[in-house]
Symmetry: C2
Subunit: 440 residues, 2 copies
């Protein structure tokens, strides 16, 4: 039997406490599967006294996470504090710099400093594992970093924010407004009091930036992401989508194109009969399209103390199973120094289908005018639906919905701009991109 793997846990919130409990309660089971015991040797958290439902008195207590990372006698530093800055950043650097492996669930830290940290890990022969940072319990880091070795990836996309998916699901299933569903999400603890980070797409963007690097071998570039949240999605959009055979999901998409790598987070129409369209509520899903394997889709819990703790535990177990000093997988899939600069593809060059919903004054010639502007911009239409509003008075605006065949975003923007210039639109036009799985 090898020596115990000694770990230090920084952060004993929901995930940290859940992890500590599992490590204590399942010690024997883990020892059998990992071939050695896993021992909590050191801990740090904001409050020392709080009861976390697990006896950690045998672990050395540190008031300062950086001190723990620097001084504790540990093999693995488990960072569960969160936040892109210090103390998480300083602590992870300190641990890696002295040859201590790191497991973290901190997507913000990796989005901001991932390349730097991966480099330090490599220099010091350490493992840097972060399965829990993207899509919670879904083993997408492992799939990209290990299973798909040798594959060339063409696209990675997914539902990576449970809050948004819960809201969109509830809007559709119960016919409620965005605001009502957001309130319900807050009541259930699925959304923060300040929900902006989730519903504006920033959380998804952080996660996407990590997947982009693993998929395409480019440096993490979390600021170079086209971002649209879901606050603008109305129940009318959701209904119109359903009528046309689509469902609206907030997707993060990274895709190789001729002009660079697209990173975009926006509400997206996916075909109703696709597998990803069935992913409801707080559940996450990530799809990876590659040239040898084909399409792989993984669906699972994207958040929650236990699911996150499970991913962290898998990362710790991987370290326990490897011998100290073993050659390590580069944290970002290839050596940090070999990562290419990220070249941002312009969103105006995006090529795909579009859903366009227009509210127009009910007068003669409007339909023809819209069709003319589409044609002039080279946009061919898959379907056109004209619908009367709920009342029948003839002066009420009419709704016109267009679904385009694959076209350039620039053309769509120009066509919609021209239509706006005609003066018959009531309110703002709604434009939503369509994303199709390679295989339905």
């Amino acid at each position: 039997m090898a020596d115990a793997l000694k770990i230090g846990i920084a952060g004993l919130g929901t995930v940290g406490a859940s992890l500590a409990k599992i490590l204590v309660e399942r010690r024997d089971m883990l020892q059998t599967t990992c071939g050695r015991p896993i021992e909590i040797a050191a801990v740090t958290a904001r409050s020392k006294g709080r009861d976390r439902g697990v006896d950690l008195s045998a672990a050395e207590w540190f008031d300062d996470p950086v001190a723990l990372a620097r001084e504790a006698r540990i093999d693995v530093f488990v960072e569960l504090m969160g936040g892109a800055g210090d103390p998480a950043h300083a602590a992870v650097k300190a641990a890696l710099s002295r040859g201590v492996h790191v497991v973290t669930a901190n997507k913000a830290l990796l989005a901001a400093h991932g390349v730097e940290l991966a480099g330090i890990a490599e220099e010091n022969g350490c493992i840097l594992n972060y399965e829990a940072a993207v899509a919670g319990g879904i083993p997408v880091i492992k799939a990209l970093r290990e299973s798909l070795t040798g594959n060339t990836i063409s696209r990675v996309y997914g539902i990576m924010n449970g809050t948004c998916n819960y809201i969109l699901t509830k809007m559709e299933k119960e016919g409620l407004s965005f605001e009502a569903c957001l309130k319900e999400a807050q009541r259930l603890g699925y959304a923060e009091a300040d929900p902006a980070f989730d519903i504006e797409g920033n959380d998804t963007a952080h996660k996407l930036s990590i997947l982009t690097t693993l998929a395409f071998g480019t440096k993490i570039s979390a600021d170079d992401i086209y971002l649209e949240g879901i606050t603008n999605i109305s129940i009318d959009d959701i209904r119109a989508a359903a009528d046309l055979g689509y469902r609206i999901k907030l997707l993060g998409v990274a895709q190789k194109t001729d002009t660079g790598v697209e990173q975009r987070v926006h509400p997206t129409m996916v075909p109703l009969d696709s597998v990803i369209a069935q992913v409801d509520g707080v559940t996450n899903a990530v799809a990876i399209e590659s040239d040898i394997l084909g399409e792989l889709l993984m669906v699972g819990p994207g958040a929650g103390g236990n699911a996150t703790a499970s991913a962290v535990l898998g990362d710790i177990a991987d370290i326990a199973k490897s011998r100290p000093g073993a050659q390590t997988v580069p944290a970002l899939g290839r050596p940090a120094a070999s990562l290419a600069p990220y070249k941002r593809a312009q969103i105006r060059k995006h090529h795909g289908g579009y859903f366009i919903r227009l509210s127009v004054e009910d007068r003669t010639g409007v339909f023809a005018s819209i069709a003319k502007h589409m044609a002039e911009n080279g946009i061919s239409l898959e379907s056109i639906v004209q619908r009367a509003q709920s009342t029948t008075e003839s002066t009420d605006p009419k709704t016109i919905i267009l679904v385009t065949h694959a076209t350039m975003e620039d053309s769509v923007r120009k066509a919609v701009g021209s239509v706006k210039g005609e003066g018959y639109l009531v309110g703002e036009p709604q434009v939503i991109r369509i994303e199709r799985p390679k295989t339905a």
Copy 2:
């Protein structure tokens, strides 16, 4: 840069040739991600002369796979010959016995000899990887063996045979008979000339037996599987299922129960709005339910030369990334000696919902009689549908469809037996088990 990882490939059929091509063409890319080159040092196949689209002249040729496994100067033996017996069995044993790691895609070999081989691997400090053996390109072995470490699994189930799923999908989508769809599958190369092994469920059973061991820590027991194929499924069943909100899939299910571990392969009703119900055609899917992580579903290509080669390559890369002599993960998730005997749960004790389709003579009292027999066996019904056959002549048989709430299989068998005894059934009753995902 570490030394090259030297591999020997036994079997250069579709998968072997595809793997060899990838290893040669992507040598540089693999060297970057794995930290060392991967080199084909030895090969063996049935025919030496055949052109496989890749130059293997630098590799040492062996006529005998066992000789290759025993003598070639290699770090990894890649077994792609197939078959439970020799030479695959003897060759894998020979390789492991002298400390050579093994990667195999051979489900039949593992189903028959997995525990023995895992034990030999452990004794010799070798890695035995077999991601491609179950559900092709879906990384389910990695998920169970690594990501879910520390979790207690309650159920694993999935669509693991592309032939069956193709046939069932085509029957539903095009309203064709089983026989017509099987012929089409054979024409497209999705089914063998002798399709029995696929359509009777044996192929799924082999794969399931491996997942059962990883999930529940019991010895592989591929003969202890309740087996029902899809030959008995009619277009009427598929239509009736759809009417009631279900779709029929051939599932392999392993589940812990009070009396043991159920292993069953049979046509199964899954809710139409579940994610797994949308998995169409030759695509595979595996769901894992566990106590910490929750439910994880993975969908991807279950067969094909490239998808299988990708999984084999992932396994080889994992070995390349680990240092020779590193502590290895036990092949079956825990040490072979610690696997518990498999205790088979009796199918008669299975607890779940049932779909029952009866064709009955159109006479008074039949409906009441059926309801009585159900009630007498303690079966409560979720829905009952009575339907006239296509013609309207009153002497034609009527179809009655029952969907039960969760009940014991024994009760269903008794009730259906009693109904049969009444003499008003036309033809055999159809009974199909219902399986519900934990979520959605």
